[in-house]
Symmetry: D2
Subunit: 140 residues, 4 copies
């Protein structure tokens, strides 16, 4: 894997960029991403929307599961919410590979606040296609 080009390629996810998610680190089966919870990312109760926390974890999940250079699509993800944080908080998500099969792989994602508070834990399963990630798309 050409890590630099892969990081650049996987960091170009449109929705992740729309939310201000930045891919900080990428290795085979691992990734780390960050974002700041903006005011417009809160929910009814004034805490970060479940979809925002999930999206950050999902961005790390996508990067880690596609890091081998083979297209991986999510089959399912479960998320457990553990703590709420105020708007303005910087969050970090880390995804690590628990199991890597030819077709199926499993990842664990943690979302933590800048002060170390554990915000959410997720597990996600992907199906790995017989299809390489096209790096050139990153340069188009």
């Amino acid at each position: 894997m050409d890590s630099e080009r892969m990081l650049q390629r996987l960091g170009q996810d449109p929705f992740a960029r729309y939310l201000g998610i930045e891919l900080l680190a990428l290795d085979e089966g691992y990734s780390k991403a960050t974002m700041v919870v903006a005011e417009h990312m809160l929910n009814l109760h004034g805490i970060p929307h479940g979809g925002v926390i999930f999206s950050l974890a999902d961005a790390a999940f996508a990067a880690a599961s596609n890091s081998h250079g083979q297209v991986a699509v999510a089959l399912n993800v479960s998320i457990n919410y553990l703590a709420a944080v105020p708007a303005g908080t910087r969050l970090y998500a880390e995804a690590s590979e628990e199991s890597l099969g030819r077709r199926i792989a499993l990842y664990r994602m943690s979302v933590t606040a800048e002060d170390g508070t554990l915000v959410a834990l997720c597990q996600g399963t992907v199906y790995r296609k017989n299809q390489p990630i096209e790096l050139d798309a990153a340069e188009g």
Copy 2:
């Protein structure tokens, strides 16, 4: 429940509004929401980002689980992705109550495309607090 005021109140979720999610229907233990998948909501592979599908389901989940007028916060959600749809597709999410306890309640969410394709299925659990939803906040 004053359904009109509750629908208005639950429809004011900031992040749901940011994504263009509209709350179409609300009843006790039930809700229906909709959105259109925009270009900036795609992922690396050019299909709707998992976080977008999740956020729509989550918006319906939040509305249905808070529909009894008592604050409900999500403990966990699992999502299964079943089909991908192109940008521009209108999606609908429906949330229905599977079980309602004093403290814990369970919901099932389906996300379908306008042509009826089943896009995702979710299950979500909430913890119900001893705290009423403040309707007045909707009028502030």
Copy 3:
């Protein structure tokens, strides 16, 4: 599908038989199973062990997901416990297909008591192998 032979074949699961689980009905993508909660199937708190409720749901899941005559192995299952029942209660589990792909399929399982109480709800995903179920094994 030769339903009779398939029902007979899928009903021969050793562990399901050990627990007294009986396969009542089988159709493509559907099954129904039953068992009685014995005294030795309780947990610390005197209610049915989570593993017992799960095993009944899992037996229905296995039958429904293998009903197409192609070997299906479970990738993951999530279970939500909704009510406890006393020892001696007859339980029923029904599995129904939510989505059937070439490789991946999703099932929903409900476990109910004889009086209709909803005891648990599950979702399970299988990977479908390029391998037929051997019916002859049922006659050995």
Copy 4:
């Protein structure tokens, strides 16, 4: 916590004993259990039944989540199956606490074979009741 008495008490789960599950270690928020997969614990495909793997993980989950001396009941558990093992294999399950709230706590369970193969990973959530574990029941 009187660890010895608690270990003895939590090790008396009837269904766990029926399956030959032994509680090896117990600490606050942690437990380790073991069992051997017998011939009658296989499924249709000749590999350990999902319910058996689950039950071992669940036994560790129950011990860890009740280890604080306060009754904890499972709300939901998700299990990911990663590898199959032959009959006769000794399995180990470890449960560790990910998050402990007043009412809600989250645990992670791993199931491994004697040779270190990772067989399954689970996440489980409990609801903690205002009710102590009765230790005396262990001496009756």
